[in-house]
């Protein structure tokens, strides 16, 4: 078989490289599946309680469409798959798609494929090994999900079907990524195509299930996966159909590989501007480099906020549920009013504040990336010397974070007010609530920057640790694990719950701002003292 010469050797190489990434993906997917079973068991301990939930979910379109399908039933397995499916399918799809691009187009970009193909390695070897290894990641994720679900006593056939669904989601988007890798001329575009397809597939599936216009669900690859309906219909013929479609897409990818030149794609490389008269300083440079990231974040946060507003329409019904489920949270977040809607909005705002805080964490890491790549050297050889260079980036980061919180407040506030018939009051208090989180997010930015300035080599793990610390000890996860406010180092829990009518107290905000300024000053001083590059 000369068509596949070199594939086994290449596969071993790809497997060695994928091991480190794939392991974490599989761990995340399988654990999330388990978390959801625990969640169901805790909140719906008896069939009667579950029936209350099921009624509630069936009456709320926004919520029901999250898990897929047009109705839910009282069944432990079904509910577990319903609640976890949306996440597990997406995560497996992303893991597989990224892996396929990583070992095909990305290697072609860097010239590694050229090096390998000059040896006795066939044209198809890279694609074949990428598909086999990425497909195995999805297979392992699916199989382990099935095994763990059976281990907690869920019905075997349903569990295996569910695992197969998880694997199928990975395979579909792996195949789509394989096609994208042939079409696009660089890895970035290939990834963008694959992930954009995933986003569209999800939105179509959600819109179809929510509106009852099922044609939208049927044209969406995510819709096919959700149509398997494990523990209820166990539709294996849908799985067979998916495998067939995957086979066709892969065949097309092989035809394309056979016909195109190395390094070429069907979609031509986009050209840039010939000049940039407006690019005249560190702020301009940082915005030019990172505006794409901001726009993606703004869109994602906007969509997420819209979804939250929709799902939140279920909040008034939650009061009919047994108190145990949300009691603690309700007490914690309801503030003075104890109103369930206030609880929902305040908890929602804090979750968004934590998610938005990831943006500055990622942005500050880009300073390190610029330094490592040697681009900081090019910039700092000009008048954009270290402090100006970093300060420009920090300005863009700070304003970007503010922008994302404004987007959150406006979208969540407007649409929730619209759905609940409570405009403009809701818009006003939600926007105020999100904006009050801004100093906290800036403090996280400052701490990450200080870490970058002091120990660039460890700044990336430290930055993640800062975020995880904030999230775990913060108001979102904190109360769940009884450590809320157990640490003075989390910035958000000092905020007054203005959404529930608590009076606005400027002290925590001003104190956080002062601390932020101090930490930033420390970071810039440290950066001024050390070697760069």
């Amino acid at each position: 078989m000369t068509a596949f010469t070199g594939t086994p050797r290449l596969m071993r190489l790809v497997m060695r490289r994928e091991w480190r990434t794939g392991f974490w993906w599989v761990l995340a997917i399988v654990s999330l599946g388990m978390v959801m079973v625990t969640y169901i068991d805790r909140n719906m301990p008896t069939l009667a309680v579950m029936a209350t939930y099921v009624d509630m979910i069936n009456q709320n379109t926004f919520f029901r469409a999250l898990g897929g399908g047009t109705s839910v039933i009282v069944d432990r397995g079904f509910m577990s798959a319903f609640r976890s499916g949306g996440f597990l399918y997406i995560m497996t799809a992303i893991a597989t798609a990224l892996a396929v691009v990583r070992y095909t187009r990305a290697d072609e970009d860097t010239g590694r494929t050229e090096l390998l193909r000059s040896g006795a390695v066939s044209r198809f070897a890279a694609l074949t090994s990428a598909l086999l290894v990425a497909g195995s990641v999805a297979l392992v994720a699916g199989a382990l999900t099935a095994i763990t679900y059976m281990a907690v006593g869920l019905e075997p056939l349903g569990s295996i079907t569910y695992g197969a669904g998880v694997t199928a989601a990975g395979w579909v988007f792996g195949a789509i990524a394989a096609l994208a890798a042939q079409l696009a001329q660089n890895a970035r575009t290939a990834r963008a195509i694959a992930l954009f397809t995933l986003a569209i597939a999800y939105v179509l599936r959600y819109a179809g299930d929510a509106s009852g216009q099922l044609w939208m669900t049927y044209i969406s690859p995510m819709g096919w996966v959700h149509a398997v309906q494990p523990y209820r219909y166990d539709r294996w013929w849908v799985l067979a159909l998916i495998v067939g479609i995957v086979a066709i897409m892969i065949a097309i990818a092989y035809v394309l590989v056979d016909r195109r030149d190395l390094g070429e794609g069907l979609i031509p490389q986009r050209r840039g501007r010939a000049a940039a008269p407006d690019l005249r300083g560190p702020i301009g440079l940082s915005w030019r480099l990172h505006r794409g990231l901001f726009v993606k974040w703004a869109i994602a946060i906007g969509v997420f906020a819209l979804g939250t507003a929709g799902v939140g329409t279920i909040a008034p019904d939650v009061s009919v549920l047994p108190a145990g489920a949300f009691g603690l949270l309700q007490l914690s977040y309801g503030g003075g009013s104890g109103e369930v809607i206030d609880y929902f909005l305040w908890a929602g705002i804090l979750i968004f504040a934590h998610v938005v805080s990831l943006y500055p964490v990622v942005m500050v890491q880009r300073l390190r990336a610029e330094e490592r790549a040697g681009r900081a050297e090019l910039a700092q050889g000009t008048t954009m010397t270290r402090v100006r260079w970093a300060a420009g980036h920090l300005v863009v980061t700070a304003l970007g974070t503010a922008g994302l919180l404004v987007v959150t407040g406006l979208v969540l506030g407007y649409f929730y007010g619209l759905f609940m018939g409570a405009l403009p009051g809701t818009l006003f208090r939600v926007t105020l609530g999100t904006l009050s989180c801004l100093p906290g997010a800036w403090l996280i930015t400052a701490v990450c920057f200080l870490a970058y300035a002091l120990t660039p080599r460890f700044s990336v793990p430290i930055a993640w640790a800062v975020w995880v610390w904030t999230a775990v000890t913060g108001q979102v996860a904190g109360p769940l694990y009884g450590v809320w406010g157990g640490t003075p180092f989390e910035p958000f829990h000092y905020l007054p719950n203005v959404v529930a009518g608590a009076p606005f107290n400027p002290v925590p905000v001003l104190a956080t701002l002062a601390l932020t300024a101090l930490v930033l000053w420390g970071g810039l001083t440290a950066l001024r003292r050390r070697d760069v590059g």
Partner: protein
């Protein structure tokens, strides 16, 4: 008038390694100065210290009359730098990057910029991720050459360029020196380039300057290669002082001679009846090799 670059006794350590060990380097106003040395000798470290990217542990460094660390921003208005390994922002086009670098150094001369883009044959609309090494180098070079600064610091500027572009580069550097009197500090391990461009050279090895001076001064210390066709037997040549590596076959003599022993040797050749004579000054290559051989021998 102070020298644009004056470095003495410069020491820089990275942990246990001593990258620079008492380096001296002086670049005079308006000259093209070659900074020569093998990989790992400390060339890039020196240039990065001059740019205020790295701190130094001991010695004195003056750049354009200022302190490269403290006055970095002001000094960088007056110089342009091309790093040895040019990495660009992949999502930006070459034209955008050139404009950015020019604007932060203080203004763009459109005509000059476009002229250089044309001479270096660069497509300014291509995204940087699609550029080859040579094209990335061109982007940084154009941005440096088109800027109106008194000093150019170039770290192995032609390492990715093809011979055609290399000659364009040489022409532009010569023009700059002649027309605008710009000072250039150019690090390299390509000897022909330094030979073609530089007025003075500093040779660095293991973090220390082993020699410095004009090319003429350095040649003075070394040998000339001679190839002569003689009518009679070339006896007695081997006994003359300063003659090395003598080979005679079929009426052709080849040997190297130390420069201060040249006179007696030529008179002796004349007495043998010279039919043809080819006389080569030592190439920098030889100078370089010999130099390192010598320092290695003394080290041993």
């Amino acid at each position: 008038m102070t020298d644009p670059v004056s470095v003495s006794g410069l020491v820089k350590t990275f942990g246990a390694t001593r990258a620079l060990d008492g380096l001296d380097l002086t670049v005079k106003l308006g000259e093209v100065h070659g900074f020569l040395g093998p990989n790992g000798a400390g060339k890039s470290t020196t240039l990065r210290i001059l740019l205020g990217l790295l701190r130094f542990d001991a010695g004195t460094v003056r750049l354009l009359g200022g302190d490269p660390w403290r006055d970095a921003t002001d000094l960088h208005r007056r110089l342009a730098y091309v790093p040895g390994d040019v990495t660009l922002w992949p999502a930006m086009s070459g034209g955008e990057i050139i404009d950015l670098l020019l604007q932060v150094r203080g203004g763009v001369d459109r005509t000059r910029r476009n002229e250089l883009i044309e001479r270096f044959d660069l497509d300014p609309r291509t995204k940087a991720r699609a550029y080859s090494k040579g094209n990335r180098q061109k982007v940084a070079l154009i941005a440096a050459l088109a800027s109106d600064t008194e000093l150019l610091i170039l770290d192995e500027p032609t390492s990715g360029l093809d011979p055609l572009m290399e000659s364009v580069f040489r022409d532009v550097i010569r023009e700059e020196q002649r027309r605008n009197g710009r000072t250039v500090l150019l690090s390299s391990h390509i000897l022909s380039e330094v030979e073609a461009l530089c007025d003075r050279v500093t040779i660095i090895r293991d973090g220390r300057a082993v020699d410095s001076g004009s090319l003429a001064q350095m040649r003075h210390l070394t040998r000339t290669s001679i190839r002569a066709e003689v009518a009679g037997p070339a006896t007695g040549l081997a006994d003359l002082p300063g003659v090395h590596d003598l080979r005679i076959d079929d009426g052709v003599v080849r040997f190297d001679v130390e420069s201060d022993a040249l006179g007696p040797v030529l008179r002796h050749l004349d007495s043998c009846g010279v039919r043809s004579l080819v006389c080569n000054p030592p190439t920098l290559e030889e100078l370089f090799l010999r130099h390192y051989d010598r320092t290695m021998e003394t080290a041993r």
